[in-house]
């Protein structure tokens, strides 16, 4: 009898090794709800095709256009929005970029960009006199990382989530070598039921970090999940929204989205976490495209959370946007709208 109990114990320990289910707190309504009307910032050029990200630093605005025919990055004077220079040429030659997936200002004259298809992080330098841009540093990411999804820079290292999902994110040094792997994908499902790369595709997240408060935030591109890592006191908060975690089905190892388009950008300021939320189903999106019907792209909600994850405010916009830049001091959110010929807009909050 004792032997039988021992057998059952060992077999259950082996079979349930990574099959635990965890529940996470959910947010519902926001205590403050407001409608915001956009103010268009006219451009002196029509070169933008699909402006996905915008970041403003002092007198410069940098826009990442992921479907531009010639260049991925476009620098403008701010607030005039007059075009200065474009860089990050799209192409197959060694000095070209295969894709543009994220960028970050290091300083006014130095910008980091991520090329996920090439698995390269590149630093560009802008000369102050004539605004010429040149590539000054390229970091080839190590083979342990399988397709970097986004990045942020902390001190001299990089935080990089990838498609392998052995962890939630990799810590990579300035030589491109992984020196630590942190966290796990906070799915409530049994991970052993899925291939991890398919799960990681579905859980693709955008990230941002604020060095003043050490908050690193993740928002999922599919579904509605927010994660808040406090890197100072090593806490991790997971919040599920009403749409829950990313839904997907697997086709030959791929994670194919079947739920909703979730968040498209996140910014951690000194006080709050700002996110752009879409909330439209892929079924509806695909059906409209297949029928040739016009299909609006982007999110019309900005959700604001406290640094500890409490819902603070929900803004409903008069248009659909992708990326945002938040100026908390001036109470201005600058956004990019891929649907419009006047794609740069501002909202007063």
């Amino acid at each position: 009898m004792k032997c039988l109990i021992l057998i059952l114990t060992i077999i259950s320990m082996v079979s349930c090794a990574d099959g635990h289910t965890v529940m996470y707190p959910q947010y519902g309504t926001f205590p403050i709800k407001k409608n915001l009307v956009a103010n268009i910032l006219p451009l002196d050029t029509a070169l933008l095709r699909y402006p996905f990200r915008i970041k403003i630093k002092d007198s410069l605005a940098l826009i990442m256009d992921i479907h531009n025919i010639d260049n991925y990055f476009h620098l403008f004077h701010y607030p005039e929005m007059t075009h200065i220079v474009s860089f990050g040429h799209r192409g197959d030659s060694p000095e070209d970029m295969l894709s543009a997936d994220s960028f970050a200002f290091q300083s006014l004259d130095s910008i980091w960009t991520l090329d996920a298809n090439k698995m390269q992080i590149i630093r560009w330098e802008i000369t102050n006199r004539n605004y010429k841009v040149k590539m000054v540093e390229s970091i080839n990411l190590n083979k342990k990382i399988v397709r970097a999804l986004d990045f942020i820079r902390i001190d001299n290292d990089f935080v990089i989530p990838d498609y392998l999902a052995k962890s939630r994110y990799n810590l990579v040094n300035s030589y491109g070598e992984t020196f630590a792997e942190k966290g796990n994908i906070p799915t409530i499902h049994n991970k052993s039921e899925y291939s991890m790369p398919a799960l990681a595709q579905a859980w693709r997240s955008f990230i941002d970090y604020n060095s003043q408060n050490n908050i690193l935030a993740f928002v999922t591109q599919l579904g509605e999940v927010i994660e808040i890592y406090n890197l100072k006191n090593n806490t991790h908060i997971v919040l599920y929204g009403p749409n829950g975690e990313p839904n997907f089905e697997i086709s030959n190892g791929y994670g194919i989205p079947t739920g909703i388009m979730g968040f498209s950008d996140v910014e951690v300021t000194d006080k709050y976490i700002y996110t752009v939320f879409h909330g439209r189903s892929f079924k509806e999106i695909a059906r409209k495209i297949m029928k040739g019907a016009p299909s609006i792209d982007g999110g019309k909600y900005i959700y604001v959370f406290s640094l500890s994850g409490e819902p603070v405010c929900s803004y409903t916009l008069d248009r659909y946007i992708y990326g945002i830049d938040v100026n908390e001091e001036k109470g201005i959110i600058t956004a990019v709208d891929v649907n419009s010929d006047e794609p740069i807009v501002q909202f007063k909050i």
């Binding site: 077999i11 082996v14 194919i256």
Partner: protein, 77 residues
């Protein structure tokens, strides 16, 4: 006592065998999915996934509006 020792050895061996089988299964799956991720990055068209429109979802090295399974006519209804 000797019988108990033999039984314990048998149990440990069984547990180790189950672990190895699980690990090998995951390893094979992982290789298949890794190949697919390589295709995602390289831009090769993979018939196991359809990429439609122009957007921000990764699909065969491109960024598209939506992806779906071949013969998944659910979307057309």
């Amino acid at each position: 006592m000797r019988n108990l020792f033999i039984k314990l050895m048998f149990l440990v061996a069984s547990a180790a065998f189950i672990s190895v089988v699980n690990f090998e299964n995951k390893k094979q799956l992982s290789n298949l999915t890794l190949n697919n991720i390589e295709a995602l990055a390289s831009g090769e068209d993979d018939p196991s996934i359809y990429c439609i429109g122009e957007g921000s979802i990764d699909c065969n090295g491109r960024k598209v509006r939506a992806t779906y399974k071949p013969y998944s006519f659910e979307y057309l209804k």
